[in-house]
Amino acid sequence: MVTATETKKVKFEILRQDTPESTPYWEKFEVNYRPNMNVISALMEIRQNPVNVDGKSTTPVTWDMNCLEEVCGACSMVINGRPRQSCSALIDQLTQPIQLAPMKTFPVVRDLQVDRTRMFDSLKKVKAWVPIDGSYDLGEGPRMPERKRQWAYELSKCMTCGVCLEACPNVNSGSNFMGPAPLSQVRLFNAHPTGSMNKDERLNTIMGDGGLANCGNAQNCVVACPKGIPLTTSIAALNRDTTVQMFKDFFGSDHMVD
């Protein structure tokens, strides 16, 4: 029996790019509708049968994905103008034709696949970890109050997906702003009882090139963040911390932390 849902088509317009340097072009696709489809399952349909709307055979569309449950951050792309994860973008909730484009804040590898290396470099730069490695066992660190842990857990949900960088007007080819995500990680690791032992180092890093001061408070990041991380509160809190650090650095404290 042929039902209406089986013949229903989902229309796609995909911004494609064959190599990192080549010119992008739009290509239209139609896939058969299935209930509960998301953008990724539709892309998988196109990959199975890479034929565009004109019936011409084409190369399969390339994209990144991993967890398929919005925790890894790999499948971010611009869907109908908004940067978000394609795994949690349900076809039923999107207006058609569904436009897919890569997050062009990052270098495009191919089609919808981008290179988010700059975010990982920023995390390394700000030392977004708790340094405990050494030549002997340091033992237990100081305890973290439970309520603080619960609050910090929200900040730890960041999956380096790049949506906040794509949303930020100040992260672009004309600036080297590291963007909201790594900044919020500075707040997370500075809040950790052991991590805070290096907080002056992290603050001094974000007071440097491409750091905190590049924020222009457009506050798109907090609207765009798929994990609901209070990025603008993190930035404002770091603004206060760096204000204190700036005066400490200048007027000269004889110890680094606290």
Binding site: P169, G208, N214, N217, A218, T232, T233
Partner: protein, 203 residues
């Protein structure tokens, strides 16, 4: 300017926008308001300002240098942004864009305004008084230009106070930032009324 020093330049830019530039703007608009009390009141007030001791020092260090730094570093900031209101049509995103547009416009407006008034007085071509402004503003295009200029300045200051509060880490929570939005909106409206009333008094 070194990128490594960016943090300090940005903080200085934020601070100078309020002190002294913002304070000077407020004082300027308030003194202009004497125009609503008539020609003589305005001329007396303007003469008083002109005859302040250390006038040139005040003009250079309280107005000219801070304003120049704020303007030129501000232009650099304004042109680094890549606006995206079609993606994020939120109030803050529009205010972010407006802050940059009014900033660019104000550079043009203030250069013209200073050339037309203070510079003319400096080369001895004209005297800054009620008649000078009445003459300038008798042209309806100029009146429009000045009204847009004053409102741009009051907006840029009010929204700049909001950003200052965030940039220095005073307002952190979403709630405090929201209340700061309302407070700065009141500042914008109040200063705009003062500024525009003064302009209309010359017509």
């Amino acid at each position: 300017m070194s990128k490594e020093r960016e943090f300090y330049w940005r903080r200085l830019h934020s601070l100078l926008g309020i002190i002294p530039v913002g304070l000077f703007l407020t004082q300027h608009l308030v003194v202009n308001h004497f125009a609503t009390r008539g020609e003589e009141a305005f001329n007396n007030a303007s003469h008083f300002m002109e005859s302040l001791p250390f006038r040139y020092m005040l003009e250079i260090f309280v107005i000219f240098l801070p304003l120049m730094f704020h303007a030129f570093y501000g232009l650099y900031i304004a042109f680094t942004a890549k606006h995206n209101p079609q993606r994020f049509g939120t109030l803050r995103n529009y205010l972010f864009i407006l802050q940059r547009f009014t900033g660019i416009f104000l550079v043009v407006f203030i250069v013209w305004h200073v050339f037309e008034t203070r510079f003319q007085a400096a080369i001895g071509a004209k005297e800054v008084n009620f008649n000078m402004m009445a003459e300038i503003l008798s042209n309806p295009w100029m009146l429009g230009f000045y009204i847009v200029g004053v409102i741009s300045a009051t907006f840029h200051l009010a929204n700049g106070i909001w950003s200052f509060l965030v940039s220095w880490g005073i307002t952190q929570s979403a709630r405090s930032q929201q209340i700061a939005t309302y407070v700065t909106l009141v500042i914008f409206l109040a200063l705009s009324v003062v500024g525009v009333q003064a302009l209309l008094a010359f017509v």
